[in-house]
Amino acid sequence: MNWWKKFPWRRVLAVVLACAALVFAATFVRGEAMFVGVDASSPDAVVLSEPDLFDGEPLGKLVANQEVETLGQSKGEYVKIRVVINGKKIEGWVKRLALRKEPLQSQPRVTEASGAKQSAQAGKGLNDKIEKEMREGSPEMNAALKRVDDFEASRNRLMGGDAKNPDPAKQNEHYKTFGKDGQLRN
């Protein structure tokens, strides 16, 4: 029986094409979910109105591990995103490298030369928890890191208006003004 001759190939093909179109459209309309890979104080955490620091205006500020939706548009090192900030939906540009496919997390690590206890332990990565342990175990390191804290606090206050939570948009404004005042840009 020549059942394949009666098989509705055209209909199946139409359904397959329709599905492919739907998948394609969904990818580009909904975009891809990504996560912010920089701290809220980073100049790269600012969502800009234009894909350029010197031309763009700040629209909002992202925080680390915040989920954003990429919209499939890119220009230079910037990509267009959609994100909800303070309950408001915003569309703007951020640096592609400030986004990651996975959220930031401290992962266990092993060295290529496996079995080394020190490296295996050290391989867990340095984060605030391990830094705290390091400080508690060493008064000298604690004193030295206290100076780093003081330095960061004064630098943050001067550049971003706040010792703990500097405003990245203010920092970007400093950079733009520096270029303009020094007549380094047209």
């Binding site: 059942w3 920089v38 104080s41 980073s42 290529e112 340095l126 342990e133 175990g137 330095f151 001067l158």
Partner: protein
Amino acid sequence: MKKKFQHPLAGTLLAAILLFGLAGCKLFEALSEGVSALKQAKVADSYDPSEEYYIGRGVSAVIIDKYAPVEAKDNRTERQITYVNEMAGYVEAATKGVTRSAFALGSHISNEKDRNSRGEKAQERVANLVLYKGFQVGLLQTEEVTAFATPGGFLWISIGAVNLCNNEDELAAIVCHELAHIILNHGMDNYRAAYKGEIFTSTLGGWFKGDGEGSIFGRLVTSVAEDAFKGYNPEQEYEADAWGTRALAAAGYAPEAMVKVLERVEAYEKANDVKEEDYLAHHPPISNRVKYVKDLITKEKLKPNPKTMSGPAIQARNKRFEEAFR
């Protein structure tokens, strides 16, 4: 009764699918385990931006234990700290088009194979580098001519190095060279080398007791910091000169400022009889670097936009440099 269609091979086909399905599951499981082990083995090569930031904090702690930082205690010191941070942030933003390719940066190496010695993985890390909190620039209260760049975006410049500069463009040359070490991931390359080689040879090892994670990281970070006191390796220094010189031009500064600064460093070395253990002694011979930078400027015809080199523009930059540091 209508006869049901059944292909003679249908049963065999179904059995084969089931068999392959089962085998596939086992195969998939085994493959997954293999991939997972591979991922774990390789994961020591990848660090989150936040981890690089904490490594940078640890290395910075050792640097400012040796050299006291300039504290923002009055208008003058506040102006100085703001000025160098503004400069670094501006340069980073204005130099996006400057290549980070090891091939292009390693043009001082005649052998093409060695030019790519960093390998694809290292090159990929450079291409994907992002700083968790951006650049943070501090000044060190010492007349010694020295500067350090750590993983995670910390940059330290001595007052001695600032005093070596005659104008803003020359200070920008130092900033561009040090930014290059961060942007090209040199600090993390050295950290990885120390980590994989299990180098825990810090003279500050006595700061840490026991085998806890905190102590192990303490020893590692202090080892890397002490290594930083010796400077980067010659290849990294040439790369930083190449990126820094191109960055100067792209940011609107005179690329020749890099030559001027290197010549001043050379004069400083001669005048101060730089010892073997000193930071500068571990850099490649300055005369070679001067020649390399001069050749690069000529070969690539590097020059900034003429407007940024106009009299009023240079005056505006030098005025603020004088106000901050003289």
